[in-house]
Every structure is written in C-alpha cells, then in structure tokens.
C-alpha cells in the first residue's frame, strides 16, 4: 500500500516564523504535490514537482516555497508565516501521466497565531 507521511498532524506557529512542512512517500512516485484545503474552497494547488530538484508553481504559490532534494521527500516552506496561511495542508504523490490517481497524506492542520 502507498504511504504518504506528513511530519505533523497539528502545528501551531507564530506570525513571522519560518515554517517547514515535510512529506515523505514510499512508492517511488515521480510527482509530488502540496495543496491547502479551506472550507468552501476545495483543494488549491500550491506547488508541485515532477522530479528531484524540479518544481512548478501551482495556483496559489505566493508566500510559499518548496524543496525536493530527494525523490521521496517534498518540503513546503512558509518563508514568513502569516495568519491567512492558517489552513489544512495536504501532500500527495503519484506516478507521472494524467491517468494516475494521487495518494494523499493525512494532512497537517497549521495554525498561525
């Protein structure tokens, strides 16, 4: 079974802090994704990556950056956390091609105070 593991289930940080969210997958997937999920807004794509050291902006990349130094790990970085980044963050991975389902982690509920 595919496992996508996010490092924290809940996280509380302060405004202005640099925040790291980590995601690891064990299925050798090329593609990895970071989404945020807010009530009534569905899943919105922040960044995604096709391969090691590759990254592509999603629909809402402002205020975020990512790092993919190893194939199995994809990190989301909030450079200077703000209260409007309080959200549920979901990581996903998949094989390439569009006809492959994404496998999701359990999410990190991040609160910025």
């Amino acid at each position: 079974d595919v496992k996508v593991t996010q490092s924290s289930r809940y996280l509380v940080k302060r405004t202005g802090e640099k925040v790291f969210l980590e995601c690891v997958q064990d299925m050798d997937h090329e593609n990895m994704f970071w989404y945020r999920q807010d009530p009534g807004l569905g899943l919105r794509l922040i960044y995604f990556s096709y391969d090691v050291k590759m990254k592509e902006k999603g629909d809402i990349p402002e205020g975020y950056s990512v790092s993919r130094e190893k194939k199995e790990r994809f990190s989301l970085i909030l450079e200077s956390a703000s209260t409007n980044q309080t959200s549920m963050y979901l990581c996903a991975s998949s094989f390439p091609l569009g006809n492959q389902p994404q496998h999701f982690g359990d999410g990190t509920r991040l609160s910025i105070l």
Partner: protein, 111 residues
Amino acid sequence: EDKVVQSPLSLVVHEGDTVTLNCSYEVTNFRSLLWYKQEKKAPTFLFMLTSSGIEKKSGRLSSILDKKELFSILNITATQTGDSAIYLCAVYNTNAGKSTFGDGTTLTVKP
C-alpha cells in the same frame, strides 16, 4: 483558467436514500476526471474516468462521464452512515501537468 464546479455543496439524506453528486468542468487539454472520498483525513481515490458513457462501478457507488456536455455524476445507492464524507472531483489538464479540484460536496447520511 481551468474550472471545476461541484453541486450541491452539501447534502443531508437518510440511510437507504440514493444520492447523485454532480461535477461540471471547463478544462483545456482534458485527460481524465477523478473522484475522491475524504472522511476525517486523507482523500482516497474512488474512480477515474477518461471515456464518455462508460460507467465505473464499485459496490453501491457508480460514476459516468459525459465529455460532450463536460460533466460527470457520482451515484451512491442505499446510502449508509459510513458514506458521510466530502466527495471531491478533480480534472487533469495534460498540458499543464496538474489537476484542478472542485470545492467538494459534503454528504451527511443520517441513521
């Protein structure tokens, strides 16, 4: 800009009812439409649809795609409380290399 619209946004039914969830889309370079179920945690994959008119079925759940009218439906028959979840629809854009998700339909099944 790609767009996926799900309706209704929320739905409350009783056990045993049949429900139909809708997903319409405007996506350039369409490749596939996927349905996911999200309970407390991670969304889990239900169906992937690529061709019009071919029903995918799994137990009490079924789904079909209409590529001419640009929509899909997800049917759940004889609903159970365990069907309570957010149902997400996503459409993959081949050229962009990414999926666009709808806002989801929150289904509540009461005993």
